[in-house]
Amino acid sequence: MGEPAPDRRPGDRDHSPWNWLLIVPIVLPLITTFYNASSPDLLGFPRFYWQQLSYILVGVATTTLVYRMTKLTRRRDGEG
């Protein structure tokens, strides 16, 4: 577990602009016109299916990135 930053107001930790990035995996899967098609297919899967499965990776990448970046900010705050 990361060491807590003792003398900071806890509220400061969470106001990172990185959080806005999380809108991407929320909105992207809801735009059906991006993926409601059968070609090109991939390994026999029509586009509708593989593209939506690929959004899972987008989601993982985004949450991981936001988690890492907000954690870094916090550590820097702690040292400062």
Binding site: L30, N36, G44, F45, Q52, G59, T63
Partner: protein, 547 residues
């Protein structure tokens, strides 16, 4: 006949009873000083790390019913059933933003349920009671549906009978065992069992996804067979792609289901049991592994089409039980012993969420009805006792639903459950971000959203099955006077109206200077981590969760 399935039944039974032993042993796992505290029984000590949380929440959110119903939906309708994938993509960034705040404020104030939060935030026992009752009512049919999942498996193995009692005897036994070890071990039981359940599910699905296509001529051939089926079917809504009329339904159903999911008491229970904010945030990157699994599983609905699977007959003469699609596919395509493993995965998969859901519903009863209205001076030990008994009552209720009523009724109730739990969104989810709403306005919004939602569900008919009301969640927009054949998810419309009413009523009540409730929380409470001590709300002799 069950004799043809003997190997499957033996493998199923061995795994099932092995897991039951684990359930009882769980009370000794990460042993607390005392089990006589709601934090221990109902939240596993609020101390689960990343791995346990991953298995627990994964086992909690992806239920046995999901695992049989989603492929069944894909089997019947095609693309529409795939909404489960965008739905389970969206939930994690939402959880990341919302539930971390709930964790912090709950840690600070010792809250156990979403209704506890509403009570603290808006200072309104009435609003908290509404949220608690909504949660209990929405959770009950969800538990019953886990039994539908087990029954689909048992039916496939030929374990069924003519009389009601013979047909349900195995389920009653399974649930009695589940009730006993949940009573004894609390949340530790499903947490420990989840390790076995999820491991089995991963093995089964990965094998299925690679093995079945090799038997059925590859994914290209599988999608070809599915296309041919939908082309031949007279139904308008099915197909490998969405059409102009069901896209809006697809989007609103995925989004609405995602919003509903984190309002369900059992999701909150899983999240509050984790040790700190980092555990939750890290899990939001790891839990989508289950979504991938669900997406692959959904496509087994197409594999079932290619394999020529016919669903088993339903409870009523002439009907079919589409939930048996995946079990029948496994029975047909796998060697007996592996089909047994697969069935055990689904069966055990039903136990984990059923246990967590009954604990969550019991906690709601204890904290927001018993403690609020019946015994204000209840000690933590009394709370734990009441919760244990309430969890038994909840399970008996779910069992009666299945034994006495048509299973279809539980499925309908679950559909309604999603719509009604969404009506707690303004108080619980928006409440985590803003205290702007007036408590009276939130009640007004709840009533408006609930009323509209029920009316819309009542209006939905399905000519194909001859049902006039409550036949689905896709509301035809033409009933609102729009000149279109498009449909929309009922819950989405209902919660929008709920929010609009809550906003308008807040403006009116503020203009009328009507007294609002006090807010027991502060801005910083939503960001604290495990290093911050708990506030002394009811601190009389109560052990504090932090060292």
């Amino acid at each position: 006949m069950w004799r043809d399935h003997l190997t499957e039944i033996i493998v199923f039974a061995v795994l099932f009873f092995g897991v039951s032993v684990l359930g009882f042993v769980a009370s000794r796992w990460r042993r607390p000083d005392t089990m006589e505290h709601l934090d221990e029984w109902g939240l596993g000590g609020r101390n689960f790390g990343s791995w346990i949380t991953w298995f627990l929440v994964g086992g909690d959110l992806y239920t046995a019913y999901t695992f049989v119903a989603v492929p069944a939906l894909v089997f019947g309708a095609g693309a529409m059933g795939f909404f489960a994938v965008p739905y389970t993509v969206i939930i994690y960034p939402l959880f990341f933003l919302v539930l971390v705040r709930l964790w912090s404020v709950s840690h600070r104030h010792g809250l156990v349920t979403p209704a506890d939060f509403v009570r603290a935030r808006f200072g309104s026992p009435t609003l908290a009671l509404l949220v608690a009752i909504t949660g209990i009512v929405a959770t009950m049919p969800y538990i019953a549906l886990q039994l539908v999942g087990i029954e689909a498996v048992l039916k496939t193995m030929g374990v069924t009978g003519e009389s009601t009692l013979a047909r349900h005897a195995p389920i009653i036994i399974a649930f009695a065992i589940l009730a006993a070890y949940t009573y004894q071990s609390g949340l530790r039981a499903p947490a420990l069992i989840a390790f076995v359940k999820d491991t089995l599910i991963y093995i089964v699905i990965l094998v299925a996804v690679f093995w079945l296509p090799s038997q059925l001529g590859g994914w290209g051939a599988i999608f070809g067979a599915a296309q041919a089926k939908y082309d031949a079917s007279p139904a308008a809504g099915d197909g490998l792609l969405l059409n102009a009329n069901n896209q809006l339904q697809y989007i609103t159903l995925a989004f609405g289901s995602a919003l509903a999911l984190f309002l369900y008491p059992h999701s909150v229970t899983g999240v509050l049991a984790s040790r700190n904010r980092d555990v939750i945030k890290r899990n939001m990157s790891a839990l989508p592994a289950y979504s991938l699994l669900l997406g692959l599983l959904a496509m087994l609905g197409f594999a079932a089409i290619a394999a020529g699977v016919k669903p088993l007959p339903g409870a009523n003469p002439g009907s079919v039980d589409t939930n048996t699609i995946v079990p029948v596919l496994f029975d047909k395509q796998f060697p007996d012993w592996f089909a047994g493993v697969a069935f055990a995965a689904i069966g055990i998969g039903a136990l984990v969420p059923a246990a967590i859901m009954s604990i969550a519903a019991a906690n709601l009863f204890t904290r927001n009805i018993y403690k609020e209205y019946l015994n204000r001076e209840a000690s933590p030990a009394q709370e734990a006792k009441v919760s244990k008994v309430a969890s038994l009552v909840v399970k008996v209720g779910a069992l009666l639903c299945i034994v006495l009523l048509d299973p279809q009724f539980s499925i309908d109730l679950q559909l309604i459950g999603g719509v009604i739990i969404l009506q707690t969104l303004p108080s619980v989810a928006l409440g985590l971000f803003t205290r702007w709403f007036h408590r009276g306005a939130l009640i007004t919004g709840w009533v408006a959203g609930m009323g509209l939602g029920m009316w819309m569900l009542y209006q939905i008919a399905n000519p194909a099955t001859g049902r006039m009301h409550f036949a689905g969640s896709a509301f035809p927009l033409e009933k609102f006077g729009f000149d279109t054949k498009a449909t929309i998810y009922v819950g989405f419309v209902a919660v929008l109206v709920n929010i609009i009413f809550a906003v308008l009523a807040t403006l009116v009540l503020r203009a009328g200077k009507v007294t609002d409730g006090p807010d027991a929380t502060e801005h910083d409470d939503y960001f604290v981590d495990e290093d911050s001590p708990r506030r002394g709300i009811d601190s009389e002799g109560e052990p504090v969760a932090v060292a």
